[in-house]
């Protein structure tokens, strides 16, 4: 397939759509199938914006099906996602997007669709296995009941054999299909010469099935007449139920991460040698290409500005909200956003060579070097499992001498009664319940073992920008430049706020948000990118708001360059407005609460040491480190870890990502760049520092519940194993004990889900 590169004018709109038809771009969100008659049928996925209710999905489906060449369209209101099957000979992806836009919605190609498809298959498979096991175990229980309730001799032997046969038939799908993951897991563990939870589980299932089968078909044989298909299937259903819940939690976390992706631009406007502009997929970009980047777009690669002057939001990279000025010759990085004016950029590095990708790679590397967080339950699991296997084998050997007829049943009783069911549920069930409770408070966890890190953390490193301070700027003061000769202070503020409302520049937005201002009847409003605003008020005076030079101020202090706005009237400078970061309302309270619960709070910042120290002192942090590059932040956290501290990191922006991965447990603010979220163990959706305190309290409770669960499971085993070894515990009682102990563990864990009044 050759690249259908659309050569169009500089206007984005339709041209951006045309680039979707480029083969490279198209294959990122399209899967191919052979349709009837040899036509290639493409299945494309789009993320749809603007959908508010289920009704929208029907409207959209109808709109898509009306496009010529569309075979089928399905829109999910829950996932905000459209899947369209279309005939490659009759339509193109751009036509599909046009149809969605014409229906009043927005659409972007969904490159994560492949991963979602995989998740759906995984989820369906898990539910299917669980249903087979649970439904069969219910039916088997019904068939097994007569044997339990009848007195000696009441059940005719041939009827008993018929019931056993029914149980066996229904246990077959459970064994061959539902229990397959346990056998596969046991095999994988054994192949690597290790022991896992799956080994005794698989062994217990296999022995119980073989022995029960023998008993069912040959009641007089070596396995006796007792069958335990009911215990077997219930046990499999319990275990699969636990695994299914875990899978759901994992999928939800993955889906919420994907929703944040899409920072890099899909298409770019490449300048052709003859001076024209063509829209191509960002993947087609090569070093040396010259691209035009309109205001509001992200840069697709690292490069240098050739023409134009603008301001760039590099918050993604530095975490700093302040826009950075760029003029011809300055370097720009991929993923940062052009805020101000269109520029022409020469691309020097693309794809994996960009700094953006380098930071992502650094983050992955840091994560593989993560210090091992010891996991309580699993640390004990391996020795425990060995003990169980040895005990079962020993019991079988001993009983084969004492009473060969009971040897197999004693071994099965030991395997079932010690089934690490309760023990394997002890950790995950409590952690899942805690993660669910945290999610309801707005703390989403990506990894469950982050809970242990949260509970044990001794030191919290907090990134300043976007974490303790908001990503937005705020106006902190006004200084008169005319000696108070003109209008009053309040009126001057109103003039500035009212004029600033005409612009989308970050400083203007901060100014406009500051006070409610009358409209003043501005006319002839002109915004000169990189300079400022100019407008005439109702009395015909010419006001200017913006740069010092724009407002006629000769030489401002260099430090004021990025954070001040000047206001002038008829060429006469009137006032200068200063801006600063806004400290989050709850930051000081959050720091105090954390310190009260025994956590050292350290401030890390890429900003100047002086500003970091000032903020740290204002908030009462234990230490403040300023002027740190990402590498230095990483070193600071690493040094604390070498001192033996359990370090938690709370950050924002991509520059934190390596540090987030290095820390024992990491949290990201919900407003941060998405890569930081991908690297962090958890996300604070509400961006409140107080949530860390609440999450830590919950994590400590969760760890307490885990310890209780493990203690209970251990006590249960300590009591029942001797009984089983002595032959006093028949397998049905062992099965009942196993189910009861698991249920108790689950109920204990469920306590975590309940709201706790202001946890300590």
């Amino acid at each position: 397939m050759n690249a259908a590169t659309a050569t169009l004018g500089p206007v984005a709109g339709d041209a951006g759509l045309a680039a979707l038809d480029d083969a490279v771009e198209r294959d990122r969100f399209t899967r191919w199938k052979d349709g009837p008659g040899g036509h290639a049928i493409g299945e494309s996925s789009f993320q749809v914006g603007g959908m508010h209710c289920a009704a929208c999905s029907t409207t959209l489906e109808q709109a898509l099906r009306r496009v010529d060449g569309v075979v089928d369209a399905q829109v999910s209101a829950a996932a905000h996602c459209a899947t369209v099957r279309w005939d490659a000979a009759r339509t193109r992806p751009s036509a599909l997007v046009q149809a969605i836009v014409a229906a009043g919605y927005t659409a972007v190609p969904d490159t994560a669709a492949g991963a979602r498809l995989l998740r759906r298959q995984e989820s369906r498979q898990a539910l299917w296995r669980l249903f087979v096991a649970a439904f069969c175990s219910m039916q088997i229980m019904m068939l097994a009941t007569p044997a339990y309730v009848s007195g000696a001799g009441e059940l005719a032997p041939d009827l008993k054999r018929l019931l056993d046969w029914g149980c066996w038939l229904l246990a077959l799908p459970v064994l061959c299909f539902s229990a397959w993951p346990f056998f596969a897991g046991a095999w994988r563990a054994l192949a690597r010469r290790r022991i896992g939870m799956d080994v005794p589980v698989a062994l217990g299932i296999a022995i119980t099935f073989v022995a029960s089968t023998g008993a069912a078909f040959d009641p007089g044989g070596p396995f006796g007449a007792e069958v335990y298909f009911d215990s077997l299937t219930m046990f499999v259903a319990f275990l699969l139920g636990g695994r299914y819940l875990e899978l759901r939690a994992r999928h939800r976390a993955a889906a919420s991460l994907e929703a944040n992706a899409g920072r890099m631009p899909q298409t770019v406007m490449r300048v052709t040698p003859d001076g024209g502009v063509e829209v191509v997929s960002a993947l087609r970009l090569a070093p040396g290409d010259v691209v035009r980047v309109p205001a509001g777009d992200a840069f697709a690669g690292d490069g240098a500005v050739l023409e134009g002057e603008t301001r760039v939001d590099e918050a993604l990279l530095t975490g700093e909200a302040r826009p950075v000025a760029k003029r011809a010759g300055d370097a720009v990085v991929a993923g940062s956003v052009n805020l101000h004016a269109p520029v022409v950029v020469r691309v020097d590095r693309v794809g994996a060579d960009t700094r953006y990708e380098a930071i992502v790679a650094l983050m992955r590397e840091a994560r593989t070097h993560r210090p091992d967080v010891l996991r309580g339950a699993e640390r004990w699991a391996a020795p425990f499992l060995w003990v169980v296997l040895v005990l079962a084998a020993g019991a079988a050997a001993a009983w084969s001498v004492v009473d060969p007829a009971r040897a197999v049943w004693v071994a099965v009783s030991v395997l079932i009664v010690t089934c690490p069911c309760a023990l394997s549920l002890a950790g995950p069930s409590a952690l899942l319940a805690a993660a669910g409770a945290m999610a309801r408070r707005g703390v989403l966890l990506r990894r469950l073992d982050a809970i242990e890190g949260l509970a044990r953390m001794q030191s919290l490193y907090v990134d300043k920008t976007g974490t303790l301070t908001e990503a937005r700027l705020r106006c902190v003061g006004m200084e008169r430049l005319d000696g108070g000769a003109g209008p009053g202070d309040a009126l001057l503020r109103q003039y500035a706020a009212s004029l600033a409302a005409w612009s989308l520049h970050p400083l203007s937005r901060a100014l406009a948000a500051d006070s409610e201002a009358p409209r003043f009847g501005w006319r002839d409003v002109v915004e000169t990118p990189g300079q400022g605003l100019q407008a005439l008020d109702a009395e015909g005076r010419c006001w200017r708001l913006g740069h010092a030079a724009w407002a006629g101020v000769p030489r401002p202090a260099p430090a004021d360059a990025g954070t001040c706005a000047w206001l002038a009237c008829d060429g006469q400078p009137r006032a200068v407005f200063r801006f600063d970061e806004r400290v989050r309302d709850d930051a000081a309270a959050g720091v105090r609460a954390l310190q009260a619960s025994g956590v050292r709070v350290t401030l890390l910042s890429g900003d100047t040491p002086e500003r970091a120290r000032r903020l740290g002192a204002a908030l009462g942090a234990d230490a403040s480190l300023g002027g740190l590059l990402p590498e230095r932040k990483l070193a600071a956290v690493g040094a604390a870890q070498r001192r033996g501290e359990i370090v938690a990191m709370l950050g924002d922006g991509i520059n934190d990502a390596p540090v987030l991965a290095q820390a024992d447990v990491s949290l990201a603010m919900g407003e941060g760049a998405f890569v930081a979220r991908a690297g962090a163990d958890g996300v604070l959706l509400s961006s409140r520092l107080q949530d860390v305190v609440a999450a830590r309290a919950l994590a400590r409770r969760a760890m307490r519940v885990v310890r209780q669960n493990i203690a209970w499971a251990a006590a249960y085993n300590a009591a029942c194993v001797p009984l089983a070894l002595a032959g006093w515990l028949p397998p049905w009682a062992a099965g009942l004990g196993m189910a009861a102990s698991s249920l108790l563990v689950l109920l204990n864990s469920a306590r975590l889900g309940r709201a706790q009044p202001a946890a300590a």
Binding site: C53, A77, L162
Partner: protein
């Protein structure tokens, strides 16, 4: 009680049949999105049923 000899095998086979039906529904995607179709009846833009139409 002789009828049990017919009913028990029948019920076992029936269970396998039910499993098959559930599997078909599951793999047909009926459990992928449990909210959407319930909310569809609230859709006012949907084509109305033509009451004058003769069966």
């Amino acid at each position: 009680m002789d009828i049990l000899y017919l009913l028990i095998p029948l019920s076992a086979v029936l269970v396998l049949g039910i499993l098959g039906v559930f599997g078909w529904a599951l793999h047909g995607g009926q459990f992928d999105d449990l909210e959407q179709h319930g909310e569809e009846i609230l859709d006012i833009d949907r084509d109305q049923i033509d009451l004058r139409q003769n069966p």
